[in-house]
Subunit: 310 residues, 2 copies
């Protein structure tokens, strides 16, 4: 027995290189989906009929923060779900964890398995893609602090555009918008651009002297720049800010079109959602609401695996 | 007595905030100009009639590498000039040193003065400006690894545009051109841009896989990106590369025009010189050959000070 929601369509044969499996050979009594990032871990616990029994949350489980912490917070998030009698040893875990793309981190995480019945591990991004389209082919355009677009193709393979990092890439993301706002403030300071409302807002946030701007940039990092992105939205009446919002939307358009020209497209991340009205009509026509989040995608992944084993 | 070359025009009353002076009260027998950066220190030694007696070179004297090293290399560069009988205690030093803009470094350097007769300290950039125009009003557009434009105005004050650093600014510099080449290679990898000759050259330099490009960016820094700039010039037949060269020239145009609309403009740095043919006709019309380098500018500075004391 599987839930109607996910298994009404024949599942894709997913490219095996996208996942790591580990199997104790013991039966599972619970299916668990985990979405783990740099801030928090979210768990959704289901029974082996696919019925959701509870949800929990705990601290970060991004693998670059250490695999012992990751396993500890995963255990806490599952315990938070409050399912009576649940033991980790009886769980089959689907995991979408940030940092899984780094082989050494992935291997260390699997090696530290505290003895779960089974696990299926992928990146948080791919779990988000599985969740958004219920495991069916589709595309996901994410723009929050960073930006990336990912697709699950009809042949079960994955494709990605963007995601090159905030220092040089992540066009159309929050960090990118904040960097563009700072570049505008610098140009306005020099007299290379007008001192419009957006530039004045940046000065209000960072200081008005050359050394203030330099000091902000020296310590900003991805999060610091992303914190300036809201100034661009708040000053959309300033032509310079409106131009940046349009440029961000164009950059996201390019990511989504290069990713795949026709697949249904879900949006995720606060910046993508705020820029949605500025996306091209072609993208608007492809847009669908995501079916579920990354934890739902991770649950789908282990559910599919358990079902294929049955 | 002063040399005709520098003092034939009434010197400007330079803004005192641009310099730090220290005076032992003793007379000087030699005037010395020092240009000190992150790689080397160059000295030019003159007599008190302004006649150049010799030149020398030694290791780095950028203040962020330590003031003891700076003073040691300055002494070595002066000694290398081979002027018979020269004693540091009898020298009046003009110094254009990288890192002088940081107050703590500037103060530490002055405090470590080994006992020279007099010193006048400014940044290497401002010494370059004084050298380029022989202490007269003028503008200097520098694009090498980084980019900045500086002007000495008729009222003796300084003005600067650009110079915001390679991570977010320095448009039209070598590091900026290299970053744009990498962004193009990333877009071509994604299918967001054609795989032209420039993108192929970047792959040949960094590797063709996503992880190769990510690994290059993770360790590149300013110097690593600047090393890609030559690929843009070498592939100027590729429309994407030509567009980047034009964009770099436009960025330098904007720096120079915002700096000052009419002052005579000298160019410095390998990228500025290579981009010169692409600069606007208005800038071409303002262009002059630099009269001297930063060491000559530092010599001019102490010469003017000594003359005004006499």
């Amino acid at each position: 027995m599987v839930s109607d929601q996910f298994m009404s369509v024949m599942p894709l044969a997913l490219d095996p290189s996208l996942f790591t499996f580990r199997d104790s050979g013991r039966p599972a009594r619970w299916w668990v989906g985990i979405d783990g990032g740099g801030t928090s871990t979210r768990a959704v616990v289901a029974d082996v009929a696919g019925r959701v029994l509870g949800r929990g949350e705990a601290g970060a489980s991004a693998l670059n923060q250490g695999v012992d912490q990751a396993w500890r917070h995963i255990g806490e998030a599952i315990a938070q779900a409050g399912v009576p009698g649940l033991q980790l040893a009886d769980c089959a875990l689907g995991l979408g964890l940030s940092g899984t793309g780094v082989p050494a981190q992935r291997q260390a995480f699997v090696a530290a398995d505290p003895g779960v019945a089974r696990l299926a591990l992928t990146t948080d991004g791919f779990a988000g893609l599985l969740g958004a389209h219920g495991g069916r082919p589709g595309a996901l355009l994410i723009s929050g602090t960073g930006s990336v677009a990912e697709a699950l193709l009809e042949d079960g393979s994955q494709r990605m555009t963007g995601g090159w990092g905030w220092q040089i890439g992540d066009e159309g993301s929050g960090a990118w918008l904040g960097q563009q706002a700072m570049k505008l403030a610098q140009a306005a300071f020099d007299g290379r651009a007008p001192r419009g409302a957006l530039a004045e807002s940046v000065y209000a946030a960072t200081g008005r002297r050359r050394e203030d701007l330099l000091a902000f940039c020296a310590q900003a990092g991805q999060g610091g720049y992303a914190s300036l992105a809201r100034l661009v939205f708040e000053n959309a009446h300033d032509p310079a800010a409106a131009a940046l919002l349009d440029a961000a939307a164009r950059a996201l358009d390019e990511l989504a079109v290069a990713l795949h020209p026709t697949l249904p497209l879900a949006l995720a991340g606060s910046i993508a959602l705020r820029l949605a009205p500025r996306l091209s009509p072609a993208l608007q026509a492809r847009r669908v609401e995501p079916q579920g989040d990354a934890a739902a995608g991770a649950l789908w992944l282990i559910q599919q695996r358990e079902t294929s084993l049955a």
